[in-house]
């Protein structure tokens, strides 16, 4: 119940900025539109693999909207500020596990972004590019599950990034590297199978394809629900890593600021 309260507070806090966020959505939708234009340009005089031009537009539309659930989440879950202000020591004293505390808040944030960012952006693309929904409701269900797993992995990655700030004070650089890797390895702009083979290998050894590529492929009907097993494995690995990091953090914490 406590966790739900934490999440709903984070959700409610964001509601105040709905207006500004809608303006931001225009910019975000524009980014996807630019990438779609590039694929339209490339696809003008050559086929685009199994997707075709329209398929690639659908691909870009889905990844761009999903970014708000799996990519653009709070930098290091906000731990960096907590370290800088000393708040982290209070957070560690609470009778709640540190990871669960930060995770619950972030789920609220993600739920908000799903409703007020991903959905409006995707609906806009559906209208502009006349995209259609998948024909089977199971496809939608699997895609949703894959996105939820991706969101969870993202929370874990950001938790670890945030924890790094206990050593370096500044961890936003790691966050930006993570974003750059999402762009390149998660199939955000280029489907993973079109990467050079060595980069494909790197990509599949990392969790990145499960953040965007796999949910998108499932949604577009190119993959079955079986791919969710991979997502599940990575979720388990990240859970263990996050718990391990918490143990180390408890020993490391030093209070800054004042």
């Amino acid at each position: 119940m406590l966790y739900f309260t934490l999440a709903s507070k984070a959700y409610a806090r964001n509601l105040h900025y709905r207006g500004a966020h809608m303006l931001h959505n225009v910019a975000s939708a524009l980014f996807g539109y630019l990438y779609a234009c590039i694929w339209i340009g490339i696809g003008a005089d050559r086929p685009l693999g199994e997707y075709g031009v329209h398929g690639m537009i659908g691909y870009i539309a889905f990844t761009q909207a999903s970014l708000w659930v799996t990519g653009f989440i709070t930098n290091g879950l906000g731990m960096q500020q907590a370290v800088r202000t000393g708040q982290i020591s209070l957070d560690l004293m609470r009778p709640v596990h540190l990871f669960v505390l930060y995770m619950s808040r972030e789920w609220g944030q993600i739920a908000y972004q799903f409703v007020y960012k991903s959905l409006p952006i995707y609906v806009l693309y559906m209208l502009v590019f006349s995209l259609s929904l998948p024909s089977y409701w199971t496809t939608l269900l699997y895609a949703f599950a894959a996105l939820a797993a991706a969101a969870y992995m993202s929370i874990c990655v950001n938790y670890i990034i945030g924890a790094a700030s206990l050593w370096t004070t500044e961890s936003s650089w790691l966050y930006w590297v993570h974003q750059a890797l999402i762009n390149l390895l998660a199939g955000f702009f280029i489907p993973v199978e079109w990467l050079p083979s060595w980069l494909q290998t790197v990509s599949w050894l990392s969790p990145y394809p499960y953040l965007l590529y796999v949910p998108t492929r499932i949604y577009l009907g190119y993959e079955q629900g079986g791919m969710l097993l991979g997502s599940l494995c990575w979720c388990l690995i990240f859970t263990l890593l996050s718990l391990l990091v918490t143990v180390i953090v408890r020993r490391k914490v030093e209070v800054q600021g004042g």
């Binding site: 303006l23 910019a27 630019l34 234009c37 790691l174 590297v177 750059a180 762009n183």
Partner: protein
Amino acid sequence: MNIKYWLGLYAVLIRSSVRSRMQYKLNFMLGTVLAAIIQIAEFLMIAIVLNKFGAVKGWSLHEVGYLFAVMTLSKTLYRTFASDVHHLETYLTTGDLDQLLTRPVPILMGLMSQNIRLMPGELLQGGTILIWTIHGLMDSGQITWVVVPYTLLAIVTGAVILFSIGLATAAVGFWITRINELQTLTEDAAQTAVRYPLVLYPSWLRSILLIVIPVGFVNYVPSLFILRGEYGSWLLYGTALIAGICLALSLKLWKFGLTRYQSTGS
């Protein structure tokens, strides 16, 4: 107090800003390396696509690389010297601008000499891609050495245009206070758009990127002459003129905006 005095003062302020930044050496070095990685990853995205599919609407990989590099270098120049113009929102919401108002230095100069940001990572990436593309285009006989001074000119005028757009966007903050969302549109999205040839976009978007937010003049318009010999060298001088006009307009808006500044309550 002549121009020499102000330039001297600016140099002193910049030096102290750099010195304060260098107090965090590890952070600086780490930031540099990671910035270079991020930039290269971004270029790889388009390079991989062009490498796989060939030219896009008549623009080769080298030509697109050139657009990308000129944009990166202009942006680096702008963000190095005017880092906090981009971060004006913080000053507006915390009321930190009051401090600058009380100093015997023009406010814009005060702002521009705060937190100067050295960006060797971006410089290295932009420079490397630029040299690589110019080399490649010269090998194929498309261009000659003449492009080097032209390119430098384009980078500088481009930085002036980006600065003007940034300053105008920041000035809007005097009325609406929160400008991060607007910046995403006028700076981030616009700059990303013109990393690729404008011919890719429908005409309405092209017009916006040339007239409303004139980022197209940073790299695309100059490159039409520099790389392809289209129109004539007047294209470059025209671009410089447009940069001058943008700068004058944005400075006017900035000055007017300052008179509307209301400090924050807390």
